[in-house]
């Protein structure tokens, strides 16, 4: 078992693990909302639009996190505004802006001729996280998770029945802005571990895997967090042993978990359909029939 614990004897690997786990949990829990509200594209767009912010911060020697956060918040506000207007379809508007911003970032970066730094931004550099990065990541994790907990019932209600929310005076667009703000925060930390291009995988894949396995929101969040943690550990270990890119290894571990869950679910459903079990009542029709029968008596 030494080969499993050996990578984490180094301080830089411990830091990397802590960062990856914190970011993974934050993104997975938030991702449950993102997946349920079909905002996957928005998450990807937010991650990509941080690039010019990162580059500008890099050029002027400012904090990369704050540069990225600034760009992400501006985009979040734009997306919230675009979804209220009907002039251009929301996804079209997002597509135009995010590719434009990304191109601007690449253009600015090509002026500096520092392709190593560009690679770190695009694909992450979790092995290089500093103490201040870790504090930032931990702070974002606390803010995102606490906010999600405090506003869970409102986020849930506006997610499945915005009409009722509006009738009782709860504004759906307000909750959407809140989610977009949290997304901007989470995405900036995701860039630290897996980079601009792969951050949306942390938001979507663990949450989508959890969605295959349970149909309750809190359980999805818990399961997503567990999956993200496991993928971070597995990905970092693999990347150390095989000497490969750590961000890509983490994302591929998430993907592998999704594939396994998908296969398990399909097999389980086929088995259940095959089995003739009169005790089973959690099929909708069986429940309806049992209920109709009991009401006739």
């Amino acid at each position: 078992m030494d080969w499993l614990t050996e990578p984490f004897r180094y301080a830089f690997m411990q830091h990397a693990l802590l960062a990856a786990v914190l970011v993974g949990i934050t993104c997975a829990v938030l991702g449950v909302h993102v997946v349920q509200r079909r905002m996957a594209f928005v998450g990807d767009a937010l991650a990509h639009t941080t690039l010019p912010g990162l580059v500008v911060a890099h050029l002027f020697g400012w904090s990369l996190s704050l540069g990225g956060l600034g760009a992400a918040l501006v985009t979040a506000l734009f997306i919230g505004w675009a979804s209220k207007r009907q002039a251009v379809k929301e996804d079209t508007a997002i597509g135009v802006v995010f590719t434009g911003m990304f191109a601007l970032g690449v253009l600015l970066m090509s002026r500096t001729r520092s392709y190593r730094d560009l690679t770190h931004m695009l694909f992450g550099n979790v092995l290089g996280v500093t103490n201040s990065d870790l504090w930032f990541i931990a702070g974002v994790a606390v803010v995102v998770l606490v906010t999600l907990a405090l506003f869970h019932k409102e986020l849930e209600l506006t997610g499945f029945d915005p009409t009722h929310a509006e009738v009782i005076g709860l504004r759906g667009d307000l909750m959407r802005f809140l989610l977009l703000g949290l997304l901007a925060l989470a995405v900036v930390t995701g860039i630290q571990t897996v980079g601009v291009i792969l951050t949306s995988a942390l938001l979507i894949t663990p949450a989508a895997t959890a969605a295959l396995l349970t149909d309750r929101m809190p359980r999805r969040m818990l399961l997503g967090a567990v999956l993200a943690t496991a993928s971070s550990v597995a990905g970092l270990t693999l990347s150390y042993l095989a000497d490969t890119s750590s961000g890509a290894a983490i994302v591929l571990s998430c993907t592998a978990a999704f594939v396994v869950a998908f296969a398990a679910r399909s097999t389980w459903q086929r088995l259940r359909r095959g089995a003739v079990d009169p005790e089973k009542t959690d099929e909708p029709n069986a429940v309806a029939q049992a209920e109709e029968a009991s009401r006739c008596n």
Binding site: Q36, Q86, L150, F151, K153, E154, E156, L157, G159, F160, D161, T163, H164, E166, V167, I168, G169, L170, R171, A211, T214, D215, R216, M217, R220, D282, P284, N285, V287, A288, A290, E291, E292, S294, R295
Partner: protein, 256 residues
């Protein structure tokens, strides 16, 4: 029932004005945002407290529009709406709106019980969690509509009739004084229809006011105190005392 610490809307939970009807609209005109013409053209309706009113008319006659305007989902063009003497939005907790089934994301990962519990949120506001009293109210509503055994199911696993009953259970859990039901009998089984009528009678006996949009008056005998006919966004004058069966015949002719 306590007031929320931090209500969702700025409007205070206003008290009802004494002697005011539960619902009063005067020359109400409503236009959907982006639409060309108004969907309601000068509709005046007066619904006294404690009565049950049927809102009937062919498809597109403005039944849903009227209910949505009263629920605060559509802006009022001209004319006015008063709910217990107050403008729309002044007392959110006093008005329950039962939407048509298609307006809800039934694939959302939430159980039937939690969905019914969302009917209590207007009494809780920000940062307050449903307590034991709220849970008891939600469970009682589920029980009244025969959904107790399905309380733990994800909402998408219910049949159409069960979903309609779950929506009504939430409206009951809200403990509103004015209930606006939009097509509650649309495409539901006979048993559900009966359960809904039963719940409506019980609400009336407890002094609640109901306005029910429907195009099916076939099994409604003794359920409605009054009928409001709408056609093309206008109210069709009808003798207040017209027996329900006459109106049912007329509606039958419309809906074929």
């Amino acid at each position: 029932m306590s007031d929320p610490w931090l209500p969702y809307s700025r409007g205070r939970h206003a008290d009802p004005v004494a002697c005011a009807p539960a619902l009063l609209t005067e020359s109400l005109c409503v236009t959907y945002p982006g639409a060309n013409g108004p969907a309601l053209r000068g509709v005046s309706v007066r619904v006294p407290c404690g009565t049950t009113t049927a809102l009937v008319g062919p498809n597109g006659s403005g039944k849903s529009t009227l209910l949505k305007a009263v629920a605060g989902l559509l802006p009022v063009g001209s004319g006015f709406i008063r709910v217990h003497g107050n403008p729309v939005g002044a007392c959110h907790h006093r008005v329950a709106y039962l939407p048509q089934r298609g307006e809800i994301d039934w694939g959302f990962p939430i159980s039937v019980e939690r969905m019914v519990l969302t009917g209590r949120y207007v009494h809780l506001g920000w940062l307050r969690w449903p307590g034991r009293a709220d849970r008891d109210i939600a469970r009682a509503a589920l029980d009244r509509l025969g959904l107790t055994e399905l309380a733990g199911q994800q909402i998408g696993k219910l049949s159409g009739g069960q979903q309609q009953r779950a929506l009504l259970a939430r409206a009951l859990a809200q403990e509103a004084d004015l209930l606006l039901l939009d097509e509650p009998f649309n495409a539901v089984d006979a048993r559900t229809q009966e359960t809904i009528y039963e719940a409506m009678r019980s609400l009336r006996s407890r002094g609640k006011t109901l306005v029910v949009a429907t195009h099916d008056l076939s099994r409604s005998e003794g359920c409605f105190d009054a009928t409001v006919l709408l056609q093309g966004g206008e109210r069709v004058p009808s003798p207040e005392a017209a027996p329900c069966c006459v109106i049912a015949e007329k509606v039958g002719a419309w809906t074929g």
